[in-house]
């Protein structure tokens, strides 16, 4: 089972990296960008039937730092009849 873990900074936590990227976008002439937050995407391939609790535990214990980050678990649909 493919699972994507989206790790993002909590609202209110200053994101210097996002700010630098924002400035760079403006420097390239991309106006109208209100805000940029940089996060991390972690793709897991886990055993079928891995419970949500288990995935939560992985996130809380290692993949995200709960002091500064939030996470969202996205289970990927199985690819249909791939040849």
């Amino acid at each position: 089972m493919k699972v994507r873990i989206h790790v993002s900074l909590k609202p209110g936590v200053l994101d210097p990296q996002g700010r630098a990227v924002h400035h760079a976008l403006e420097g390239l002439g991309f106006g109208g960008v209100e805000d940029v937050r940089v996060g991390r995407l972690i793709e897991l391939d886990v055993a079928e039937g891995t419970s949500d609790e288990r995935l939560d535990e992985m996130c809380r214990k290692l993949l995200a730092n709960m002091v500064i980050e939030n996470y969202r678990i996205e289970k990927m649909p199985e690819t249909q009849g791939a040849a």
């Binding site: 200053l14 210097p16 990296q17 290692l62 730092n65 500064i68």
Partner: protein
Amino acid sequence: MAEFRSAVVTFPGSNCDRDMAVALEKVAGTAPIRVWHGDPDLPERLDFIALPGGFSYGDYLRSGAMAANSPIMRAVKREAERGVPVLGVCNGFQVLCESGLLPGALMRNASQNFICRTVPLRVENSQSLFTASYEAGATIRIPVAHHDGNFFADSETLDRLEGEGRVAFRYLDTVNGSQRDIAGILGESGNVLGMMPHPERAIEDDHGGSDGRALFESVVGSLVGA
């Protein structure tokens, strides 16, 4: 005087472990035992454990995150909970936060730059076993060298740290964007200290300053006095 038994833990990517060991030997008179991250346990009857600076595991995932889960850290946590003094400097501070031995997190410097210079600090707590040889409120100069030293904790945690006298050192300049200019904090029981500045790089005049020496003297003195 009983022999001072200390250990310096080396993780893959540590690079201040040797400096830490030299500082400890110069101040305490005995060389620390060197411990590898994969060792199953620490030597017995330690008086002091140091987690050095560096870039453990290449800062993969987050600075200190992988090291916090390495085999030796189970033993470090156990000994810290028994009251053995534990010092984490720079990457060692990051490891202590990631392992839950200290609150908060160390984020990328607000400037996004790696900062490598000597900075003035105020000794905010001179009662701890790490700082007893400093004058309360003294200004000391200690080098910093880090990319992820921007201390973050929620305001409730910050208030608690301040209220309990657990802010050990504070930057006198704006250095890295740390909340309330916090440079080093103590654990709840006072036997764990994490700090971004490197006291082991300032123990003799040839280093350009020796203001870090009193930290090691405090630790050694607290044990000899006990």
